[in-house]
């Protein structure tokens, strides 16, 4: 290596003589860092999404590689957010890929002290049975003056202002058909 190349490889020299006077870019690159690229660069695909936290509606780009989310970034095209995300939106990759995510159905029988495993299909059948049982026990055909009520007060629901419109639609529709009126949402709270 000649002296000139040796000196030229020295970051302070490059910083003083090159365009990167603040030493925040090319001047301080090593061979390794020069070869690094963003995780977004080699993603297999990018999905258009929206941040799930507050109600501003910041647009997100979800980068996927090998069927796994590798990065979530703000979408600069959005007239709502112009590519910005707040600390929560910026942490949403942890929200969807972190170890806190539950992957299996958990079941706690009455009086039990710990969770148990339960098959998803079995759990669905058990819930369907319980819904119909609670519906029957809480059923009211008429009020005190004999006017039709056609409803049950046996079970209730509360949730989720981060659910999709399509999901809320099916929830309300099914509850209503079952006669269940106590369906509520964060929107009340």
């Amino acid at each position: 290596m000649g002296v000139k190349r040796w000196v030229g490889a020295w970051p302070v020299y490059r910083q003083l003589t090159g365009a990167d006077r603040l030493g925040r870019g090319r001047a301080v690159q090593s061979r390794r860092s020069a070869g690094l690229g963003p995780r977004t660069a080699d993603a297999d695909r990018v999905a258009d999404s929206v941040c799930p936290y507050c109600a501003v509606g910041c647009a997100q780009r979800v980068y996927v590689k090998d069927e796994r989310v590798v990065q979530i970034e703000g979408n600069p095209d959005s007239p709502v957010s112009r590519g910005r995300l707040c600390p929560k939106g910026s942490a949403s990759k942890q929200l969807v890929t972190g170890p806190q995510r539950e992957r299996k159905v958990r079941y706690r029988p009455p009086y039990a002290t710990e969770w148990q495993d339960l098959d998803l299909d079995v759990a669905m059948e058990m819930v369907a049975d319980r819904v119909l049982d609670a519906r029957r026990r809480g059923w009211q055909d008429t009020d005190a003056s004999g006017r039709p009520l056609r409803r049950t007060l046996g079970f209730a629901g509360l949730g989720g202002a981060t659910l999709d419109n399509e999901e809320n639609y099916l929830i309300k529709k099914l509850f209503t058909a079952l006669g269940a009126i106590q369906i509520e949402n964060q929107a009340r709270i």
Binding site: A47, D48, V50, C51, A55, G57, C58, A59, V62, E67, I72, D77, V80, S81, R82, C86, P87, K88, G89, S92, V96, G98, Q100, E102, R103, K104, R108, P110, V127, A128, A134, G138, W139, R147, L149, R150, G154, G157, L158, A161, T162, D164, N165, E166, E167, N168, Y169, L170, I171, K172, L174, L178, G179, I181, I183, E184, N185, A187, R188, I189
Partner: protein, 876 residues
């Protein structure tokens, strides 16, 4: 006001900063100096819970100085309309309006009607919950009789015209009174008045932003009314740069009211039917009446199309489109009523869908004890939350109130798919629907709510197949034939059905004006109609902001019909010309005979400004060419609400349910129609005129941090966010710290009659003591995101709060209460219960405390108490 936008909606706040950079003045009115205050031109500190006194003062300033935008007010509001002679104001009745019944704590609103409308006496009193406006949906009740015969005085001089009534109602809301009630020095208050009025009118507009700092009060709906009255008087509604912005707190909380999972609404703000609605016609008469103006006149088309989407071919004209299949409400079935019914053993099962009430709802202890008394509980969430694990780690385990081995609740936890693992739309705070594409498949048992409820519906239908029981007909008839991809229902197909289908052609309709009342269309939510126009998912549009104009009409889709500014007809004068070139938005193009402009006109496209409806017209046809408020029964914006609100036609300053001071304006201390749920497990701190308020001498308020999200279910388990805000804290002023011996970063605990909660002390002048009526009032603030589990754990702040709700919408008063604060950690275990019991004893608290809601006139705290009727254990 009532919003810490920089903290809670930080990315949205960039637009406030853009406006400021272009010369806009930003004023932040809030009890605490926050991240928003730091970026505003002026921060105004006021006592929590006194915003209506402040806003009433602004109204008084506008009217007493004639600063209203008179042409706008005369043309587009009900200011000229005359009220009937029976109306009596809070000025006449010591803080009550005419029609109050102390025994039901409710109003008969018939005396609030306009003059020409026959104010019929209702036969007898309807019980409070029979008359409540949450049963009206968004249409609100109609004004009685026809809308075109209302007596009016265009000069606004008649003593009974709305303008003069408004002036008298707020006559005593002077700068001096604002100073005494709110603790805002009068010169600061007048500076706000000047800034607001000088930046409104023909050439300028001002915007008003609020959040749950305004809604979570026992007078919350009237807070919004007060802000709206100012914006109407100043001509700031329907115009660019104007408006009232409700900043909602969750990704699709707007969507959750539009397509409600709420007990009192059907999709599109149609009301749930109640026991008085014998058939569809009677139901529709409650939504629209002949002679009424506006687009609620087509409620029959919206409702029949919804019934056709619900029950498909089973819904026919002969069977009233299955209207009889709908269950009926007959009172309060809100989430707090339901929680108390759980405690009382009246509810057997509960679904929690991305919701954590053990931490996130007021009175967490009541929520947890309710869940511990269920037969079964289904929790669907991304990760474990306190509401799923209360049976082993609730604070009540430590106090002995819940014993795991004796807790009978059967709990199912279903892992949910995240926002990137499913497709669908959120509706954000600006009414914009944005579609998300699925990025990856969920893993293991993770599923969407769409999957869960679609298959639950399928399983239930299978179980009931062949039933001859009449009560099962609505399930058997239910149209549940959504397209699926694998076993996942297609969200796009659900959205298309929400948009609406022409049943003859099978094509998606283009908008709600195409819906029919004859059963030939099916539509899941009429206000979303158009989101699938031309068979295109309009919510999925992503035309870059670099490629379109300032109204960005091709990014997502905004209801209704992609109109970005509601009531934007009001941006033009009655003749259809922009009020000013600078503030032009939509206008009448006489040559082409249509409304045009930068935004999609919120008006019938070809109705000219000089259109006058024919005699006997109703619905949209009855709207004149200058009736800008097209959803209102009289085409006008309501400064005075002749009907539709349960707690009065005008906003009135009432003290919060728990307050350290007596109401300085009226004998009536607090909202006389608030719901107090007086019961032993829901105690109130005493407030004047009750004695012993000094036991809880400080004002308490709570709100959010940027780095956490509501009850923490989506943030306290994330390493980044937990590191950024690792621990619960309580902010106090240096003066209060000195008074109570609190040291910065040491422990302290806050006490109410419900609970004691510990946190680290932050001594800061962000919370300045206020001078109110000659005395110092200290305010205490906490963020509320913590719970016993997660990477960042802490006490549940909502445990401090009791359940008292606003009577129109049943939201809890969680933004203001009274408290005590003491140095050191709180007692543990059963000693905690004894400690809080000691406070209750010293304050003389019984189930009757706070339940004598009428204090006006001779009432003064001796009126009837409003306790739970069927709980003998709550008798004192």
């Amino acid at each position: 006001m009532g919003s810490n936008m920089a903290e809670a909606h930080p990315v949205g706040f960039q637009w406030v900063m853009e406006a400021k950079a272009r010369g806009a003045k930003v004023i932040h009115v809030d009890p605490r100096f926050t991240r928003t205050s730091a970026l505003a031109d002026r921060h105004v500190a006021l006592r929590a819970g006194t915003d209506i006194a402040f806003l009433g003062g602004v109204i008084h300033h506008i009217l007493s100085h004639g600063l209203d935008f008179r042409e706008y007010v005369r043309a587009y509001t009900n200011a000229p309309f005359l009220l009937n002679e029976r109306y009596q104001d809070t000025e006449d009745l010591d803080g009550l309006f005419s029609g109050y019944d102390p025994h039901t704590a409710s109003y008969d609103p018939s005396s609030w009607a306009y003059e020409s409308t026959a104010a019929r006496e209702r036969p007898g009193h309807r019980a409070k919950e029979q008359a409540a406006p949450y049963r009206h949906g968004a249409g609100g009740p109609a004004v009685e009789d026809s809308a075109d015969g209302i007596a009016a005085d265009p000069t606004l001089q008649h003593p009974r015209c709305v303008y003069q009534v408004l002036k008298r109602h707020f006559a005593r809301y002077t700068p001096q009174m604002v100073e005494r009630i709110c603790g805002v020095p009068r010169e600061v208050f007048l500076e706000v008045c000047r800034a607001w009025t000088e930046n409104s009118g023909r050439e300028r507009t001002a915007a008003l932003v609020y959040s749950v700092g305004w809604t979570q009060h026992s007078t919350g709906a009237q807070y919004i009314r007060a802000g709206s009255i100012i914006q109407l008087l100043l001509g700031n509604i329907g115009r660019p740069g104007g408006g009232v912005y409700a900043l909602r707190g969750h990704a699709s909380i707007q969507g959750s009211t539009d397509i409600p999972t709420l007990f009192n609404l059907l999709p599109g703000y149609l009301p749930m039917p109640d026991a008085t609605h014998e058939d569809l016609a009677a139901y529709l008469d409650g939504v629209r009446r002949p002679g009424q103006k506006g687009f609620w006149g087509n409620a029959d088309a919206y409702a029949v199309s919804l019934l056709k989407e619900y029950w498909g071919q089973a819904a026919t004209a002969e069977n009233d489109y299955c209207f009889g299949h709908l269950p009926r409400i007959d009172g309060d079935h809100g989430t707090y009523r339901t929680a108390m019914d759980m405690v009382d053993g009246k509810v057997f099962g509960y679904f929690l869908l991305g919701q954590n009430p053990a931490v996130g709802s007021a009175h967490g202890r009541l929520q947890r004890l309710g869940m511990a008394n269920l037969d079964w509980l289904v929790v669907r969430d991304l990760n474990m939350i306190e509401s799923a694990t209360f049976w082993k780690d609730a604070p009540e385990i430590e106090t002995g109130e819940i014993v795991t081995e004796r807790c009978r609740t059967e709990v199912f936890f279903f892992p949910a798919a995240s926002h990137v693992e499913k497709s669908g739309t959120f509706t954000q705070t600006q009414r914009m629907l944005q579609w998300r594409d699925q990025a990856v498949e969920p893993s293991g048992d993770q599923r969407s709510e769409l999957w869960f409820f679609y298959h639950l519906g399928r399983l239930v239908k299978e179980r009931l197949a062949g039933s001859t029981d009449e009560r099962d007909r609505p399930v058997l008839d239910l149209a549940w034939d959504y397209a699926t991809e694998g076993d996942e229902p297609s969200a796009a197909d659900v959205l298309r059905r929400i948009n609406g289908i022409d049943l003859a052609t099978g094509r998606a309709v283009g908008g709600y004006t195409e819906l029919k009342a004859d059963g030939s269309t099916a539509c899941g939510c009429w206000i979303y109609s158009g989101v699938y126009a031309d068979e295109v998912n309009q919510a999925r549009r992503r035309t870059s902001r670099f490629e379109q104009g300032p109204y960005e009409a091709e990014w997502g889709w905004t209801w209704p019909l992609n109109r970005r500014v509601l009531y934007n007809r009001a941006s033009a004068d009655p003749q259809g010309r922009p009020w000013s070139e600078r503030k032009a938005l939509v206008w009448w193009d006489a040559e082409r005979g249509e409304w045009t402009g930068h935004d999609t006109p919120d008006f019938e496209k070809h109705k000219p400004p000089d259109y006058r409806p024919p005699e006997g017209a109703s619905g949209p046809e009855a709207l004149g060419g200058d009736d800008a408020f097209i959803m209102m029964a009289d085409g006008k914006a309501w400064l005075f609400a002749p009907t539709g609100l349960t707690d009065g036609p005008l906003p009135t300053h009432y003290e919060p349910h728990e307050s350290p001071v007596r109401n300085l304006l009226y004998g009536q201390q607090a909202n006389p129609t608030r719901k107090v749920y007086g019961r032993r497990d829901n105690p109130s701190n005493p407030a004047p005129p009750e004695a012993h308020g000094e036991v809880f001498p400080f004002v308490f308020t709570a709100s959010r941090l940027t780095e956490h999200h509501t009850a923490g279910g989506m943030s306290r388990q994330l390493p980044y966010l937990s590191e950024l805000q690792p621990e619960l804290f309580v902010e106090v002023s240096p003066e209060l710290a000195a008074e109570r011996g609190l040291r910065h970063l040491d422990w302290a605990h806050v006490v109410t009659s419900r609970a004691a909660v510990e946190a680290r002390v932050v001594v800061t002048d962000r919370l300045a003591p206020l001078r109110v009526e000659g005395r110092t009032v200290h305010q205490v603030w906490m963020p509320y995101h913590w719970g016993p589990t997660g990477l960042a754990a802490g006490d549940v702040v909502n445990d401090l709060i009791g359940v008292v709700v606003e009577p129109n919408v049943l939201i809890q008063e969680s933004k203001v209460l009274t408290c005590d604060i003491r140095p050191g950690r709180r007692p543990r275990g059963p000693a905690l219960l004894e400690y809080v019991q000691g406070y209750r004893r010293r304050a003389g608290i019984t189930p009757l405390t706070g339940t004598r809601v009428m204090t006006a006139g001779d009432g003064d705290g001796h009126g009837p108490a409003h306790t739970e009727p069927d709980r003998p254990e709550d008798s004192p």
